[in-house]
């Protein structure tokens, strides 16, 4: 079962040089298999850096990360990632974007078609299979992004402020839909955001990073019942957590 451990991780850009900058300092974290986790912090706290390291896009200068006890090194389809920027390939139709990962592995045509049909529907893009990404709105493109990562069937889903560029209403719908999709397969999710409400609504566990260098400041266990609904955003319990985290980020 996928369980992510971050063990005594420190990262310094330009280590040993005159402009060395430590962005992450002595991070120890465990993300349980099948759980939804968020990392929050003000900008510049190194949360995106941490996530990219989990993806294997670059290596920490000290310490290590493991997935199921195996050291994370380099990228791997087991660790899928949704990026802050639009990463949908504009030269592929929606369907071809969705089946990109399986095609890399040489999955047979018939199975590709099944995957395309399943995941375009799951992310609410049925009927848009043959559209070019340029014909879609920002929110729909994000759905393609998420569907594409899910269709590749990773063990872990790393999400770097995926809804950061969306308007408030689209964002709330995307959050609910993401939880629904996640609820059906229970992949381990690590979700980076600076939006406190988003983190509370989605997560089982919220890691608060302090800034410069990023250190683990607080870990909040969110015990709100699932499935989560939008009206929970206004419950006392929800708001109490929000108040507490807000005070922490404001320091």
């Amino acid at each position: 079962m996928p369980e992510i451990k971050v063990d005594n991780l420190t990262h310094t850009f330009g280590k040993g040089g005159p402009d060395a900058l430590t962005v992450l300092d002595n991070i120890d974290l465990t993300f349980e298999s099948g759980s939804f986790n968020s990392i929050i912090g003000t900008s510049g706290c190194g949360k995106s850096t941490l996530l990219k390291m989990m993806a294997g896009l670059f290596e920490p200068s000290d310490g290590e990360m493991t997935l199921d006890g195996n050291i994370i090194q380099g990228t791997d389809r087991r660790r899928g990632m949704v990026f802050q920027q639009d990463a949908v390939f504009p030269w592929m139709t929606v369907a071809k974007n969705i089946s990109y990962g399986p095609r890399l592995r040489g999955v047979p045509k018939s199975e590709q078609a099944e995957i395309e049909a399943k995941w375009t529907e799951m992310v609410g893009l049925k009927g848009f299979e043959n559209r070019w990404p340029r014909e879609l709105s920002g929110g729909m493109r994000k759905r393609v992004d998420i569907g594409r990562v899910y269709a590749n069937d990773p063990d872990v889903l790393l999400m770097d402020e995926p809804f950061g560029a969306l308007d408030a209403q689209t964002k709330e719908r995307m959050q609910s839909d993401l939880l629904e999709t996640w609820g059906q397969s229970k992949k381990t999710v690590v979700f980076v955001t600076h939006d406190i409400e988003e983190a509370i609504f989605l997560s089982d566990k919220i890691v608060v990073l302090s800034s410069r260098p990023g250190r683990v400041h607080h870990i909040e266990e969110v015990n709100l019942p699932r499935p989560r609904t939008n009206d929970m955003r206004l419950t006392d319990e929800f708001l109490e957590i929000k108040r507490r985290l807000w005070a922490m980020l404001d320091h």
Partner: protein
């Protein structure tokens, strides 16, 4: 859709207008009593020269020879540019190895190679195709490299995290992402092919459009010279149009398509 139609028709009309104005000005100048038709032949002479050369078969031969050189030179030059450009733009080791060489050779006008090519290979078909190939390669390869270097990192990262190998990223992400640049390179190469074609034929050929120009100069046939200039313009224009069609098809995914 309506806005698009209005825009396209406005573009068409204004384009036709500018050509018509030039045409009218030419007729006006050549009809003036002080015009020397030996230097500036009237349109009727140019048209007559066209039919003379069609009847004698000169034009067919010249056009055939020139088009063959263009296609061969363009094909060889751009294919080499595509292969070299992709490798240089994607693999750092190859870049460090080859890029200084390309940068050093780039400022040299392709026509500067003509003397040495003639010495080595003679005034053969191969020599002319080689010069055109070099010209096409040089202008095209720079664009291909630029395209490969401008592949957005997020696409590369996205493909990698989905399990793509370095070569798979190259094939499925870098090359398609670079197509806008690559196509631009091809189009510039087509222009370069025409420029070098005529120059190489002016210097060293027994046939071709450049040869017809040279012959016109030698026998003071200004109408023939003008006729060939128009033919070259028309051919280059038609080829560019055809190219735009291909471009529009290949770029239908792009926001910046024409």
């Amino acid at each position: 859709m309506n806005v698009m139609n209005v825009l396209t028709s406005r573009r068409l009309w204004l384009g036709v207008l500018s050509i018509a104005v030039c045409f009218a000005a030419y007729i006006w100048v050549t009809n003036r009593p002080d015009n020397n038709p030996a230097l500036l032949p009237p349109i009727s002479d140019i048209v007559a020269s066209f039919f003379t050369n069609v009847e004698s078969g000169n034009l067919h031969t010249a056009l055939g020879a020139s088009l063959f050189r263009i296609f061969m030179g363009f094909f060889i030059g751009t294919t080499a540019a595509l292969v070299v450009g992709c490798l240089v733009g994607w693999y750092k080791t190859i870049e460090f190895l080859v890029d200084p060489l390309i940068e050093a050779l780039r400022p040299i006008p392709p026509l500067a190679y003509i003397p040495i090519i003639i010495i080595w290979f003679g005034i053969e078909e191969f020599s002319r195709v080689l010069i055109i190939s070099i010209a096409c390669f040089m202008v095209c390869v720079v664009n291909v490299i630029a395209g490969m270097k401008n592949v957005p990192q997020v696409y590369v990262d996205a493909a990698s995290t989905m399990g793509a190998s370095r070569f798979q990223v190259f094939r499925t992400v870098a090359v398609p992402a670079a197509t806008p640049f690559i196509i631009t390179g091809y189009r510039i190469a087509l222009g370069a092919a025409w420029t070098t074609l005529v120059a190489s034929e002016l210097l060293a050929a027994q046939n071709g459009l450049g040869f017809l120009l040279q012959e016109g100069r030698r026998y003071f046939l200004t109408d023939q010279v003008m006729m060939v200039i128009v033919i070259i313009g028309a051919c280059a224009f038609l080829m560019d149009r055809a190219f735009r069609r291909i471009q529009a098809y290949l770029m239908q995914w792009s926001e910046a398509r024409e």
